[in-house]
Amino acid sequence: MKLNKKFMSTMALVLASSMALTACGSNDSSTPSTSAPSTSTPSSDASSNAEASTPVEDNVRRTSDGYKISDTQEFIFNLGADPLTIDPQLNSATDGSHVITNMFEGLIRESGGEVTPGMAKSWDISDDGLTYTFHLRDGIKWSDGQPVVAGDFEYAWKRAVDPATASKYAYIFGSANILNANDIVDGKTDFNELGVVALDDKTLQVTLEMPTEYFLRLTGFPTFMPVREDIVDPDGIWAKKPETAISNGPFMLQSYSMSDNMVLVKNPNYWNADNIELEKITMRMITEASTAYTAFNSNEVYLIDEIPTAEIGNLMATSHEFYIEPYIGTYFLIFDLEDNEVLQDVNVRKALNYAIDRTEITEHVTKGGEIPATSFVGPGFTDANGKDFYSVGNMEHDNYGIPKQADIAAAQAALAEAGYPNGEGFPTLEYMYNTNDGHKAVAEAIQQMWKENLGIDVTLTNQEWAVFQETRNNKTFTGLARHGWIGDYADPNTMLEMFISNSAQNNMGYSSEEFDEQLYLSRVTTGTERMDHLYKAQEILMNDLPLIPIYYYTNPLLVKDEVHQWEITSTGKYYFGNTVMIDLD
């Protein structure tokens, strides 16, 4: 998933490894002193209540770990920018995904890192791993009371791959290896041929081209969420209008005011509505990190994820409301390999890679220790043996030769080999980034490192996010451009496939037959063999270096103590279905 403006991130290495991806976001388990109710104030309240007036105690509802449940179940958080759309099939941004995850529900729901039944109560997988049969729950309804049927899923999925819909995420059906999806996206087959069919109202059958381990988890991804044929429109306007935004998840849209806020309320028709505590979720749209931080400090919002970089270092040491959540993504720079002849020389790309002190950047620029990136696939992706893809690959290949701190000698040697000793005669490169203080700081730091270590001049150019995306997608940048990629599912394929020659996400003009072949082979194989191909693909990629990995993302958050049991899925989406607002005093 393209990472919007989100950039400022921190994470201590230790935290990353101690908080396994599965432990997403349960705010209490990560702060030891709060997980034991006996030490905190609420429980002492409880004991005094019990002695003084027993009837009061009866009226107070408590969470399973002893916190008093608040009377007002309204949760407010900062969504950041106004999402372009919240139509599940049209959305391609993180902010939209947060809303969709709470308004809609797919066949499964990821909860606590595990795949749990969502709209489907169970599923059968054929022995060859190619056919999935989902059995929907009984009594599941849309927010207007109509039943959710298997046909809604079939319609939604076909709508996503239909070229007329122009969904930016159509390719993900190809990644999921659903029958004919790739051909449909390439325009070779009609979209009605997609391998999904509603056998009856309660049964959905999906046919895959190849056994795909991550397919089941993907059915919880926003693009796979059902929509109703009778209400959708081609531009996704329906999803922002409370009258037509009919959803099947725990919450439904109550009001939307452009660039101000969006209000979700509990959906009474949701199958599990009895267990949803929150009555109302207000999503503010504060785009400025500093303003959002002020709002958080004055209790106007309870959760923010855009925190001013300057504050993070201090917050990490002093605030118990500050969390660093893992995020499966990489911050990197891409080269213009199509037109820039200088950058077509692999030695130049090596020199630029080696001359960057990634540790300095994570420690002093982005702060709080994201992990310096030495490969494209970061921590959080497991291979067939259950080991971390990142650790295994980097261990085996000695970090693919990418130094965590600058290797100036190697960088200068590579540059000399390319014919520019001490940077003499090297043309001025253009480094493009989207307007954001964080990106600017990283760009300036790298610019200075190249100047000092290699004698290379770089000019920095910034563009507004929408313009920048256009520039990058059309490959109209001339030197380097910043990029960030967040995995859509916890499989290395989600990262690596953007480098396939004909991928729509391939903005660098990188084309390697060997790499394409390895990724192709990974699609027709399974298990360890498949992973070997992916390892090989990453090795080829890191030898060719069409990118400069900088660091692996983390997700720093500020969450008020009053918000209990908030969750972030493995792909970084908020889910508030289990959230309870608690009273602390």
């Binding site: 935290l15 609420p42 931080y293 605030s319 002093h364 620029v365 300036e444 610019q447 200075q448 103590d561």
Partner: protein
């Protein structure tokens, strides 16, 4: 018959004759400006700021782009804690130690022996001593769940850590605040010298401000003067051109210009040159329209003074009050326009900085590092004051109606 008249002597006649020597208009302006203390203060300030902008960076130890990332965000006043007899440290707001001298010169980052982010301490080797910097109490002192009361009590940095030298705690309150000798005005988020950057930023901001005012005077005043004095068809056409220019948003002009020339100071100056005189032209036209009906213009015309001379010598000096005020207002407005354009990527490209972009960059850290915002803001404010004082004085000095 009483003779009430007496004869005047020669001495008495010459004595009452004016002895003031004849002054030209500009000499008179200068004389009156010199008498105005505020105006002279403003003038001296502008000259000082300009000289600093031109020569200041040459005398600085750092260039505007020199970074020391480990020295990021160190304020102008630092609290120096004594570790041993000849070793002192500064505790950074981000909970790490920086070795300094007793009078506030930065020495370097001490060698880190162990960094424990779980138990929240860092041990350093400072001059052979093992220094343990323990900030585990930082979290507790901001209050755990339900006990937010402590948050109000201690919010000061110094209450949030302990320092142990070779195992024994030192008196952390035995710290004195000294000024930062290495970076006079502190460092920014990438460890760059704020003082040098502000001086460098003055070059860009003042250039933009001056260009704006010059364009205002030369194009705006003359254009408005001609339109107003000529009147009729000429006025109509000229003012419709102004309307057209005025109706195109500034941003659109800049973006279109970017297609032709690359972003940078040139683009900004050109943009400001293209649009900034519009308001002034309207203002002057209005003034001239009313002034030209007055008798002194009629007199000038009757004497056969040429049109150009009437506009330049008679009409504009009489409209000088509003002109100067509007010109002085255009300077800060141009400085802010520049910062806005730089922010959206159409202005100077990083690491070059103007006052506007410096202030903009500092905004995110306003709570912890306010000095980064204060310094460029003071620079902008002082410049505005100076221009306003000078403007006021100039208005009084230039206005022929106030001539004594």
């Amino acid at each position: 018959m009483n003779n009430e008249w007496t004869r005047v002597t020669r001495e008495e006649m010459t004595g009452s004759e004016a002895t003031r020597k004849s002054l030209t208009y500009w000499q008179d302006v200068w004389r009156r400006l010199r008498q105005n203390v505020m105006a002279m203060t403003g003038l001296i300030m502008i000259i000082t700021i300009s000289l600093l902008a031109i020569f200041g960076p040459m005398f600085s130890d750092f260039s505007y782009s020199d970074q020391v990332l480990a020295y990021a965000n160190i304020p102008p006043r630092i609290e120096v804690t004594k570790i041993t007899d000849d070793h002192y440290v500064y505790v950074h707001n981000e909970f790490r130690l920086i070795e300094v001298t007793a009078d506030g010169e930065l020495i370097g980052i001490p060698e880190e022996i162990e960094k424990n982010t779980i138990n929240r301490y860092i041990t350093y080797n400072i001059g052979g001593n093992e220094v343990k910097f323990d900030y585990s109490s930082a979290m507790a002192s901001t209050g755990k769940k339900g006990s937010t009361a402590t948050e109000e009590v201690s919010n000061k940095m110094i209450d949030k850590y302990e320092i142990y030298v070779n195992g024994s705690p030192i008196d952390k309150y035995n710290a004195k605040e000294v000024s930062n000798k290495t970076y006079f005005l502190g460092t920014d988020n990438l460890g760059r010298d704020v003082w040098t950057r502000v001086l460098y930023g003055a070059r860009i901001s003042l250039t933009v401000g001056l260009v704006a005012s010059i364009v205002n005077v030369f194009i705006g005043v003359l254009y408005g003067g001609i339109a107003g004095y000529e009147g009729g068809k000429v006025d109509n056409i000229m003012m419709r051109i102004v309307d057209i220019i005025n109706s195109v948003p500034l941003l659109l002009i800049v973006i279109m210009l970017m297609v032709v020339i690359e972003p940078g100071l040139k683009t900004i100056i050109l943009t400001i040159g293209l649009v900034y005189w519009v308001g002034m032209a309207r203002l002057v036209r209005g003034q001239v329209l009313s002034l030209k009906e007055q008798e002194f213009v009629l007199a000038a015309r009757a004497l056969g003074v040429s049109k150009g001379k009437i506009i330049v010598r008679h009409l504009i000096p009489n409209a000088i009050g509003p002109i100067v005020v509007s010109m002085m207002m255009a300077i800060p407005s141009a400085i802010f326009t520049e910062s806005f354009l730089s922010f959206i990527g159409l202005g100077v490209s990083a690491p070059e900085a103007s006052w506007g972009t410096l202030a903009n960059d500092a905004l995110g850290g306003i709570r912890s590092y306010p000095y980064q915002l204060v310094v460029p803001s003071i620079a902008i404010a002082l410049t505005m004051f100076a221009f306003n004082f000078l403007g006021d004085g100039l208005r009084d000095a230039l206005d022929p109606r106030l001539r004594k």
